[in-house]
Subunit: 357 residues, 2 copies
């Protein structure tokens, strides 16, 4: 059992990583005596809903449990899905004392989190992430959002959960593409802040991809710890937190060009990190050895190194201008000064950017 | 010039009450060098948009000003209107450094505030209230929301503006019904917390209804000060702030039964306060002299004292169960222990409530 705390004063919360996470006492205490609505999707619910419900329905807890099952996919991370959640909550007379439980990957976690942030001006919620990507990234830190046709995560709020409960055994059913997508965020933590972790990943990438339980536990622990440190220092992305977006500005443009339909978020971020690294090399900060190490690790995780050929550089550049990192009209990029150190860069050459695109 | 500060630590902001409020230096500083989108409605924009724009467009300010004009009315306080705001912001490439300016009454202020709370996870906004109701109540305190067909203000956030700028001369064009609606919230402050102010209102109600400028300035100042004190003490309505909802649980039920189409919010609150007072009398806390004083003041402000005849008691009771004050299935009512002292009451007789309804 590994347990971290995301430190945010009165809003601090536990991150529990264990095959027994769903039985953790802190989770039982959160739901005790309350109306709880588990929100999941058509893929995850058949696999894990019954088990989660049995963990939460001990007679002594007196929980009133119900469920809402949404369709699966990034294309459902919309205001329309939010409205379905609001409709259900109001039709069933859920009041402010209820608690929402997000059971699923990043789409479920982000959407349910935003519904919790805005239903009756805010109700409690719990993250139960079941994909590698959501376990190491999106369930931790309180970024909630839905997509808009003109940009990913454009409508949202900073709103922290009451706890994150990660059961590693849920990864046993995760498709390979989604596992690789999660690895993009794992590799990101090494690149932005932890040269030693990057080296450890290089040495253990085969065991990780084979889903060795001990390697996975260490991978998720270090990733969550890094994310928690950054979020504690800068909850609402006034500064430091922006480095967590390495590769994301490029990646979001790829996803938007595809209308969120083809590549997974993590795949787009993988290609985006390779592009950010190439831009960093063009800036003279990374050398060819660094580039080879980065591309080799991304490749070993079965991640793409380039944007799809059918998206033009001009299209990419235009979509990047919608990014949330744009400030007063100026696009900011997260680039690498070296492996293990990312910085927010305002001052770059548009020609160099277009060359990378 | 009257100036208050709503004290919320780093998120404190000014409330300026003056015919010169829109020229206040603190407002100029907020918009300096930024992209600002003024959002107003079809009724208010023809009256005040040009004047506001000229106040904000001094050459030295280097503001990039634009506007979005929405249809007027509570029936447009919806997720659909929010989407129109998001569409415009994204189509015009507004980034996180922009500032939204709400020019209008409570519907505009609540909707624009919620758009600001959720666009790119939060951008700055300014309240420029032009109705009595929004000047004394909805623009102050950071409650933002839109309505859902099953309940008023059900989707929203606590999100504070960067400032509230009240130009009293905008009241010159306010229709009488809307002025009366604003008086409901004014009378509320006397009832819940300030017996002396209630007495002052009784003595000056004729001058206020005739819109005597000095009386109006005092009315708005005391109302904003009371609201600011309560919000400072309890920003997210964990306790004290609930008393600001005197009459609102009854009033929201009336509005919902009418699908927000007939009575104004303040009219519904006026009737709701009379009903809450009657319930308080039934509980033995108010005597018939108190009741007469309350009903006389509401009547002098041209406010209704009862719900419309065509809404049954059962319908009212059912709609009240959707209220945000419901906690763990238990409806809580804000009732009066005396004129000038409100309390949140969990323990009341359902029969007495139905009798009042």
């Amino acid at each position: 059992m590994k347990k971290l705390t995301l430190e945010l004063g009165a809003r601090s919360y536990p991150i529990v990583i264990s095959p027994e996470a769903w039985n953790d006492a802190s989770l039982s205490e959160q739901v005790r005596g309350r109306r709880a609505l588990i929100i999941s999707n058509e893929t995850i619910a058949p696999l894990y809903l019954d088990r989660l419900k049995s963990c939460l329905s001990g007679a002594a807890l007196e929980v009133e449990l119900d469920q809402l099952i949404l369709p699966d996919g990034e294309q459902y991370k919309t205001i329309n899905t939010l409205e379905k959640i609001y409709d259900r909550l109001l039709e069933s007379h859920y009041d402010r004392s209820c608690i929402l439980i997000a059971l699923g990957g990043g789409v479920i976690g982000d959407t349910v989190g935003f519904a919790a942030a805005t239903y009756q001006r805010g109700v409690d919620f719990i993250q139960i992430p079941t994909t590698l990507l959501s376990q190491v990234d999106s369930s931790v830190g309180g970024k909630t959002a839905v997509n808009h046709p003109l940009g990913k995560n454009m409508i949202g709020a900073f709103y922290q959960p009451k706890g994150v409960y990660i059961d590693l055994t849920t990864l046993e059913t995760l498709p390979e593409r989604e596992f690789s997508a999660g690895m993009a965020e794992v590799i990101k933590y090494g690149l932005i802040r932890d040269n030693a972790f990057f080296g450890w990943l290089e040495q253990n990438i085969e065991a990780i991809m084979a889903r060795d339980p001990d390697c996975l536990a260490e991978t998720i622990l270090v990733s969550c710890r890094t994310k928690a440190e950054v979020v504690s220092a800068d909850e609402t992305e006034q500064g430091l937190r922006a480095i967590l977006n390495l590769g994301h500005t490029f990646g979001h443009a790829i996803e938007a060009a595809q209308h969120y339909k083809h590549w997974l978020h993590g795949e787009a971020v993988g290609a985006g990190m390779a592009m950010a690294a190439r831009m960093s090399q063009n800036m003279g900060w990374l050398d060819s050895t660094d580039m080879t190490r980065i591309e080799s690790l991304l490749s070993a995780a079965n991640l793409p190194l380039e944007a799809p050929q059918d998206i033009s550089a001009e299209k990419m550049r235009s979509l990047m201008s919608h990014d949330k990192k744009v400030t007063r009209g100026q696009l900011r990029l997260i680039l690498l000064k070296q492996i293990g150190r990312a910085e927010v860069i305002n001052d770059f050459d548009e020609e160099q950017l277009l060359a990378v695109l």
